[in-house]
């Protein structure tokens, strides 16, 4: 094989890539154990499926699906090891953390689909109940139970442990908690085992084994073959109950939703941010969980025209950074073009402006479309700048402009600059464009008095 082939191969074949990643994971010591367990699991599942067909018991099949689910959870565990090793690629810019979530989601959904299949099968069995041979029923039950419990307890499955802690309780857990609460009233010592909430997987394994034992007993004693179907339905329902909260939790992560438990904290932080000096409003806030636990988010912050953007950005980032690790903050001002006209050297700015005015103007509209209420002042005034130099009095209506503008800036005015604006309005209140622009220059002059500007001056090379 030539070098070109070697170079190209990993990109081409899917299995080669998989093998490469697998080698990467297999290099880790911890994953050996998982691989060992996976191999045992495969063997175990094979035996169980054989026993299922020999006993013709659907309850045992439903229980076997739990073993298969165990296999998926082992795979998820491997994936989570792999994820920690991988760096974000340019295509998957957020990294592969979400693969863990997707694996959890997929395996819980697959378990539920299996349960759905069981429900369908048992509906058909109610019509025509076949005979169940109890020969290997109990053996299969105990093999599956002991293997499941052994896997659960000996392997630290990080993603599933997290999800089962974070997701809401399943109905099975609730009932057990309710029962054990009254049990612990009699024997207080048990509370350490049962009380807060039991591990849902251990619970469903035990409950399924219990149902199978009852099935075995009733079939042995009385040949009630219908019990098999009934307990299959029970196991399927328990599987649903156990898996549903987890798939809802991981599905919500995948849907890029704000996790409900951080909403309170986020609200507090956003309130803090909106009281920062110069901040007018916070909008378009999107916060979502990237993987299990880490938050990502983006937010738009509208600031007063005279506020220092970098300063506000730093403060906002600083506040939100405690909670949101991947954060993007867009600072925007309304009508930022006007102050630039009068505050800087006029000639240069006009030149500058004429260079750019063709590009930005339609875009400004596009961005402001998102929130028409707050951007009302921009819209009537966005066309004028190009024309207003040539025909100052033509398309400006000073009275209405003033009215529309004082409203959104009301917050800013409260900071004690009212006298300035009044004065400046009087001074610069020339007809035409002067009215609106003078209004703004009143603010653009102020930032020099704010402490932050001096710092920029210092930092400037």
């Amino acid at each position: 094989k030539g070098t070109i082939h070697l170079f190209r191969k990993p990109q081409r074949s899917f299995f080669g890539k998989l093998l490469q990643e697998f080698r990467l994971v297999a290099a880790d010591r911890r994953s050996w154990k998982i691989l060992l367990f996976g191999a045992i699991n495969l063997a175990c599942t094979g035996f169980l499926l054989m026993w299922c067909s020999s006993t013709n018991s659907i309850a045992l099949t439903a229980y076997t699906y739990l073993t298969i689910f165990d296999l998926f959870s082992l795979m998820t565990c491997l994936i989570s090891y792999w994820v920690t090793m991988r760096k974000p690629s340019p295509v998957y810019s957020f990294g592969f953390e979400r693969l863990e979530v997707l694996a959890v989601f997929a395996s819980t959904v697959l378990a539920q689909l299996g349960a759905l299949f069981i429900l369908k099968e048992s509906a058909e069995r109610f019509l025509e109940q076949p005979e169940i041979h109890t020969g290997r029923l109990l053996v299969g039950t105990f093999v599956a139970l002991s293997f499941n419990l052994f896997t659960m307890l000996s392997i630290r499955n990080k993603p599933f442990a997290y999800v089962s802690e974070a997701a809401s309780t399943s109905w099975l857990q609730e009932h057990v908690a309710d029962l054990s609460r009254s049990l612990c009233g009699i024997i207080p010592g048990l509370s350490s085992i049962f009380l807060p909430r039991m591990n849902p997987f251990v619970l469903i394994d035990l409950a399924g084994a219990f149902a199978l034992c009852i099935t075995y007993m009733l079939i042995e004693i009385n040949n009630y073959f219908a019990v098999d179907t009934a307990s299959a339905i029970a196991i399927a329902l328990m599987t649903f109950g156990t898996m549903y909260p987890m798939s809802v939790y991981s599905g919500k992560v995948l849907l890029q939703t704000t996790p409900p438990h951080v909403i309170g904290q986020l609200d507090k932080l956003i309130r803090e941010v909106s009281t920062l000096d110069g901040v007018l409003e916070v909008r378009n806030e999107h916060f979502w969980t990237l993987g299990f636990g880490s938050l990502a988010g983006s937010v738009h912050v509208r600031i007063r025209r005279d506020a220092n953007e970098q300063m506000v950005l730093a403060h906002v980032t600083n506040r939100l950074y405690t909670l949101v690790s991947t954060l993007t903050v867009q600072i925007f001002k309304d009508d930022w073009i006007r102050p630039a006209l009068l505050s800087g050297p006029v000639a240069a700015n006009v030149l500058n402006f004429s260079d750019h005015h063709i590009i930005p103007m339609p875009l400004l509209k596009g961005t402001e479309d998102l929130n028409p209420v707050t951007s009302t002042p921009t819209k009537p005034s966005s066309p004028p700048p190009e024309f207003s130099f040539n025909t100052p009095g033509k398309n400006v209506n000073p009275v209405t402009l003033l009215n529309t503008q004082t409203r959104p800036y009301g917050l800013g005015l409260n900071h004690g600059h009212t006298p300035y604006s009044n004065m400046l309005n009087q001074v610069l209140g020339v007809p035409g464009i002067g009215a609106s622009q003078g209004f703004r220059t009143g603010f653009t002059n102020i930032p020099s008095r704010y402490g932050t500007n001096s710092r920029i001056g210092q930092s400037r090379p």
């Binding site: 810019s93 609460r181 849907l255 630039a340 400004l364 961005t367």
Partner: protein, 716 residues
């Protein structure tokens, strides 16, 4: 029995052992005599009811209802509270915590046990029926009516009893108000008995006219009649009313239900026993041993479940209620107000809800198509099921179940299509559009599972090909094929609009191919991604693939049927299904892959090139040093989101850069963009603010890189 009570109090969840907290309780010592009284009367009532059963067998009033005497006792003697809480658990969402749900489940299980597992002498009954054991026309009529429904007589009795129980509870709740109008509960009770006697009188007269009497002497029956009337009607009523005055109603129900069940069980076992026969004073004239119900395991199990459920349901619900904190008592314990529940009922009426959701469904083409197809599918399913039941063909019925199972995918697709149009909320800040992708993913998994099961089944059949009965298969599969073809036409119509590909019928390879195509062909340079079309509606793709898989299934059945009938190749069936499984699998893989990529926040492949160009263009903007953390991902069919951090030189206006960058990136197809513009001052501020040491380190590194870049630009 008193000892049992003691145990009961202790074992009851939070019963008497609650201690200081909770509603104020009368000390249980004072109540003991009432409890004992209650137990005793309940016991006597059980005696009376059994007695009355014997009597009724002789007198034929409404013999039918009392066919299952034990069932009568078990079912009918649930007190109002138990039943009301059961119904509230079943029909209102605001039950009362898990315990109540458990109780309701126990109740239902018990009823089912009574229905299913008490089949000890069902055969005997059936065999006896022609002999003319029923000597009254009425009973016979009822008997045939129930037999027509397909359940044995005592099962019909159980069903009737459930109905009667509901009626009784309804009557009792109504009677509370009525008793005030009439003037006391006592008078009402008397009146109601009178009315019931009047109602029963014609029956009795008619029956006694038409049937030859088996009664030898009316006189010997007076004594048992008197005891029955006394025990069942009078004593029970008085003691009940006294106890309910003295104790809580729930407690009363709990203590009352327990002895009656126990005694019912005991009597059920021993009533027909020879010893008790001897003990009884009166002689039974027409006592038929053969028709007696023997106590079976199912009845015992159901009795245990009934006791449990009565115990749980009648216990006052404490934890489930949501109380509002009013304040603190002088001792410092919190006081709660439990009235809140009454004000939270603001649910819509059901017809209105259905109407509104239907309107929503029909608003948009996607959900409308799914809905119509779902209706068609369900119609076909029910026709199939009905026909299957009518002709008693198991194959048809199981195929119907299979169709129902498939419908679940359609239902999910419908819900996803409906939900994806919901407005964005605080939690779903980008809107619900992504649900479609998730639903597509789930549908893909669903199909994978189906393909897997079909594969396993066909492999098993390859090894051991079974003999098939093919004559029923063809019409069903042709019907299914027609339905699914309609679906394919409907969905591929919407589909091909998006793709510009030719009709994607039948050929799945063609279909998947067109999917590969669409990534390049569709998204040329169109930036107006309306929510209506969108290149990638994973939900519709999933539903489409589902319908496709079904179609393939029916085609496979038809082909294999033809092969089997013509040539007798029984191997054709597993081969066909193997082929179908592989086809389904192959057609699903692209869907799952695409959905995974979206869910993993991959850079959208169809925008990859443009975004790359856009980022190159950005770097050429005047005053821009570099960018970092460029994330672009597809959120849903209509939303492509992106975030980017940009470093600029200190002398550039941030807003202008934002506008320029926004313009460039939006041109590349991203419509939800956040840009963070950073100058050197930002990093200085950040390091000045109390960020952690590591952050400062990262920031200074950033700054250094910036300086380096700046140097580069300066050099240039």
């Amino acid at each position: 029995m008193e000892e049992k009570y003691g145990g009961d109090v202790l074992a009851g969840p939070g019963g008497g052992s609650g201690g200081g907290l909770g509603p104020v309780d009368v000390p249980s010592a004072r109540l003991t005599k009432y409890i004992v009284l209650l137990c005793f009367t309940k016991f006597l009532k059980a005696v009376g009811l059994f007695e009355s059963y014997d009597l009724l067998k002789v007198v034929h009033v409404v013999q039918f209802i009392f066919i299952l005497k034990l069932g009568t006792l078990l079912l009918f003697e649930h007190s109002d509270i138990v039943v009301i809480s059961l119904l509230s658990v079943l029909f209102t969402s605001s039950g009362g915590g898990p315990a109540k749900t458990r109780g309701a489940a126990f109740f239902i299980i018990a009823v089912i046990c009574l229905l299913l597992f008490d089949n000890d002498d069902l055969m005997a009954k059936m065999a006896e029926h022609p002999e003319g054991h029923h000597d009254s026309a009425l009973t016979h009529m009822l008997y045939t009516a129930i037999a027509f429904l397909g359940v044995a007589d005592h099962k019909g009795g159980v069903l009737l009893l459930v109905l009667a129980l509901c009626c009784k509870v309804g009557f009792h709740t109504a009677s509370r108000k009525l008793s005030i109008d009439v003037g006391g509960a006592k008078r009402l009770q008397a009146l109601s008995h009178l009315v019931s006697v009047l109602l029963l009188c014609p029956w009795v007269i008619v029956l006694s006219m038409t049937t030859e009497s088996k009664v030898e002497s009316w006189f010997s029956l007076i004594m048992p009649f008197a005891t029955v009337i006394f025990f069942v009607m009078i004593l029970d009523f008085y003691v009940d009313s006294i106890c309910s005055v003295k104790m809580e109603a729930s407690k009363c129900a709990r203590y009352g239900s327990f002895p009656i069940f126990i005694s019912a069980l005991l009597f059920g076992n021993f009533w027909t026993h020879p010893i008790t026969d001897q003990l009884r004073a009166m002689n039974k004239a027409a006592h038929q041993e053969s028709t007696e119900h023997v106590l079976s395991g199912g009845v015992v199990v159901s009795a245990v479940f009934f006791i449990l459920s009565a115990n749980i349901l009648s216990s006052p619900s404490k934890r489930g209620q949501k109380g509002t904190l009013i304040g603190y008592s002088p001792e410092g314990t919190p006081l709660y107000n439990f009235m809140g529940d009454a004000f939270q009922h603001s649910s819509q009426s059901i017809p209105r809800f259905i109407k509104e959701s239907l309107k929503q469904i029909l608003e948009e083409s996607d959900s409308r198509q799914i809905f119509y197809f779902l209706c068609l599918n369900l119609l076909f399913t029910f026709v199939e099921l009905f026909y299957g039941v009518l002709t008693n063909s198991l194959g048809l019925i199981s195929d119907g179940f299979h169709m129902l199972f498939d419908c679940s995918a359609l239902v999910m697709g419908l819900f996803a299509a409906l939900m994806s149009r919901w407005k964005a909320t605080r939690i779903f800040s980008y809107g619900y559009g992504r649900i479609e992708i998730l639903s597509g993913f789930i549908n893909g998994l669903f199909l994978m599972v189906i393909a897997f099961f079909v594969f396993m089944e066909s492999v098993a059949r390859l090894i051991d090909p079974p003999e098939l009965d093919t004559h029923m298969l063809t019409p069903v599969s042709v019907g299914g094929l027609i339905v699914n073809l309609i679906g394919i036409c409907a969905f591929s119509h919407a589909h091909s609009h998006n793709h510009g590909a030719s009709q994607g019928s039948c050929h799945s390879s063609d279909h998947s191919h067109s999917h590969h195509m669409h990534g390049h062909s569709d998204h040329g340079h169109s930036h107006s991604h309306g929510s209506t079309g969108g290149g990638m509606n994973a939900n519709m793709r999933g539903v489409f693939l589902h319908v496709l898989a079904d179609t393939l299934g029916s085609i496979g059945v038809i082909v294999s049927t033809i092969l089997i009938e013509q040539f007798g190749w029984f191997i054709a069936d597993p081969l066909c299904s193997l082929f179908i499984a592989i086809l389904i699998f192959l057609s699903v893989v692209p869907l799952i892959k695409d959905a995974c990529q979206v869910l993993l926040l991959r850079l959208p492949p169809e925008y990859e090139k443009e975004l790359h160009n856009a980022l190159e263009k950005i770097q050429k903007i005047e005053g821009l040093i570099s960018y970092r953390d460029a994330h672009f991902w597809r959120h849903s069919a209509s939303v492509v989101a992106g975030t980017i951090h940009i470093q600029v030189t200190s002398d550039v206006l941030e807003q202008r850069v934002v506008q320029q960058v926004t313009g460039i990136i939006k041109d590349a197809g991203v419509n939800n963009l956040t840009i963070q513009v950073e100058k050197e001052a930002y990093f200085q501020h950040m390091s000045g603010l109390s960020t952690g040491f590591h952050d400062v380190l990262a920031m200074t590194k950033q700054m250094e890189s910036m300086k380096y870049c700046k140097d580069g630009t300066y050099i240039m």
